[in-house]
Symmetry: C2
Subunit: 186 residues, 2 copies
DNA sequence: GTTCAAAGCTAATGATATTAGTTTTTGGAG
DNA sequence: CTCCAAAAACTAATATCATTAGCTTTGAAC
């Protein structure tokens, strides 16, 4: 092992996440990142193919963290609506804790930054069974999609500062999801 | 009027929109834009303060177009759920027709690109009355927020390529909104 | 025809991502 | 203990950006 490495893929990744989260997307440059890591810019290329690849990895990390925060709640006592509400709250909490990277992960005006979308849809399959308990097997896929849309949409609007007319956002979130589930339950 | 102008703010804006929509966000450079307009790059600065300001203008255009596509449907025959569904479909259709600029408008990993969010929330107030017909005045704000979240979230997931497990997306959209409204109507 | 201000241009700067080629380091072979 | 090879980092250079400063062209009004 000649020449011990000063950095590696992982520390680059976490430094990038922290920098994005604290300074915002616009201030993430490889120069800045290298300076933080105590290394010159081109050295980063030994561990990543491009800035785009790095950002894609950041997004993968975000999704991984998000699902890690959520999946444990699948095996929780209570009926389906209650468990779904717990998951929805954990989801929203994660997004609030990682607002910039969450936004980046789903933002994707640039298609190259997306992790494999097919894989993500697979990751969400376990949740479909939960919806099936409410609306039946046959409708469980469309019902799941609407649920994801509601959750994701609410969080995105919040993060974009688009829900600022006052009122209790926590309550609005809970009530809306409850209404959605009730609507499918009929 | 010495020296007739070859360009103006508006043609820059529409060219920018078209370029973004056809080539994607990543390929929008002022150089490219100037070349399309038959002008040298620095000349653009006579009509805009910065690239950021241009993108903010693009976003304003997007919102304006979106609301222009939607608001006429407020005065349509039919009960509240029917009218809401018409609006939701028009909304989704607009997003499908302008996928990149729609994504950009709501993406906003970079806060400077956002048009005044307060104004946008005001633009959506007329739709609150429609929700009130379903769930009553008292709950109309949270119910509206959930509806916007559901619509926006669904469209964003679609555009991000995150709903690719097959199935009828049109139906899923319609059914989910119907369920949501039914849930609030109880 | 001269004037003048608007509109465009050239040239330059500093930041950026990225590539090519060189130097430094050090664990292990002799 | 010395030396070597290769891994890891570095320097230097390029092309592309956005942006600024200052110069040149245009054409309508007098």
């Amino acid at each position: 092992m000649p020449y011990p490495a000063q950095i590696n893929r992982e520390v680059i990744l976490t430094a990038a996440c922290e920098l994005i989260e604290s300074e915002g997307m616009a201030h993430l440059s490889l120069n800045q990142l290298a300076k933080i890591l105590g290394v010159k810019t081109p050295s980063l290329y030994r561990y990543m193919d491009s800035k785009t690849a790095l950002l894609r990895a950041v997004n993968e990390t975000t999704f991984k963290g998000l699902f890690a925060a959520i999946t444990p709640l699948l095996d929780t006592p209570g009926d389906a609506p209650l468990r779904i509400m717990g998951i929805a709250n954990a989801y929203r909490a994660y997004a609030h804790q990682h607002p910039v990277t969450y936004g980046l992960a789903y933002t994707n005006t640039i298609a190259e930054l997306r992790p494999d979308p097919a894989e993500q849809e697979r990751a969400v399959i376990p949740f479909q069974a939960l919806m099936a308990e409410i609306c039946g097997e046959a409708d469980s896929l469309p019902a799941l999609r609407g649920l994801l849309a509601l959750i994701h949409g609410f969080v995105m609007l919040e993060l974009a500062g688009q829900l600022q007319r006052g009122g209790d956002l926590d309550a609005a979130y809970t009530q809306s999801i409850r209404a959605y589930l009730a609507g499918w339950g009929k």
